[in-house]
């Protein structure tokens, strides 16, 4: 008898809680998912641009460029977990770890090229080289993720299970899976089963 009463009390408490907290258009949870989706879109755009430029210019990526891609993919894992299993501080922590790693690799590459007299590497957009854009993008992810962590209300509600949400989850996973697979194939062709060349000019397995 007692467990049943406890169950009813819990139900009543949940209903009262839901009624006392009307979810506005920009509730904490909705904001969390918007942050997550925007960041995933940004990371996907970075990886797509990198792959398109790689194949269009016939420039196999350097080892540090590959590590930056790995950093962005690592950051995307936390965002994908947010979409798949609900918003959690632990998922945001994975995003931060991945972005900090990408920023570290970008800083390393900038330190090799930024000194006066040193040669720059790769192309530039608006006069800024790709590794510097990479650092800016990683810094943006760190700032946005830190801000997103602050909205405490997002962790209390169960994740939405609507049809549009399922579509967003499926599309995000499909896109990131394809991008990761493209990089696996590309790296295998470029490096083969040995260390990647320091200054790649062709794909080892295609010669």
């Amino acid at each position: 008898m007692r467990p049943k009463l406890h169950h009813h009390m819990n139900l009543l408490r949940q209903v009262a809680l839901a009624e006392s907290k009307p979810e506005g258009f920009l509730g904490a949870q909705r904001l969390g998912y918007i942050f997550t989706a925007l960041q995933l879109g940004g990371i996907a755009a970075i990886l797509i641009a990198a792959s398109v430029l790689q194949f269009a210019r016939h420039e196999p990526p350097c080892p540090l460029c590959l590590l930056q891609r790995a950093g962005f993919l690592l950051a995307s894992v936390g965002l994908l977990l947010n979409l798949r299993l609900g918003l959690r501080p632990g998922h945001y922590a994975l995003v931060l770890l991945g972005a900090v790693f990408a920023a570290g690799v970008a800083l390393r590459q900038i330190s090799l090229h930024a000194l006066p007299g040193a040669d720059a590497s790769g192309g530039a957009v608006f006069g800024v080289h790709f590794y510097t854009w990479s650092l800016l993008a990683a810094a943006a992810i760190i700032v946005v993720t830190t801000a997103a962590l602050a909205f405490e209300g997002q962790y209390e509600d169960p994740p939405p299970a609507g049809r549009s949400m399922k579509l967003v989850v499926f599309a995000s996973f499909a896109l990131l899976t394809v991008l990761a697979a493209v990089n696996v194939v590309s790296v295998t062709l470029e490096c083969g089963i040995s260390q990647c060349p320091d200054n790649p000019v062709h794909y080892r397995l295609l010669r």
Binding site: P63, L73, L81, L85, A118, V187, G192, N199
Partner: protein
């Protein structure tokens, strides 16, 4: 030659030979990333986090190796 990726000098006898690692580490890193995304899709949180940490550790060690071999450091 690209200034950033000059091969490390051949180490003296008995020196640390970390600069001579000859494994497909980058292929391994990206394959692990693909597996991490696949486990996230399956909803396996713990396995995903474990794979994430393994991948991040390998990638960080690779970066350390790159930095130290270029500077000819003996760590």
């Amino acid at each position: 030659m690209h200034r950033a990726f000059i091969r490390p000098r051949v180490p003296a006898a008995g020196a640390n030979t970390a600069g001579e690692i000859d494994l497909a580490m980058m292929v391994l890193i990206f394959a692990l990333l693909l597996a991490t995304i696949a486990t996230a899709w399956l909803g396996r949180r713990r396995l995903t986090v474990s794979l994430f940490l393994v991948t991040l550790t390998i990638a960080a060690l690779w970066l350390l190796h790159h930095a130290t071999s270029l500077l000819d450091l003996r760590l």
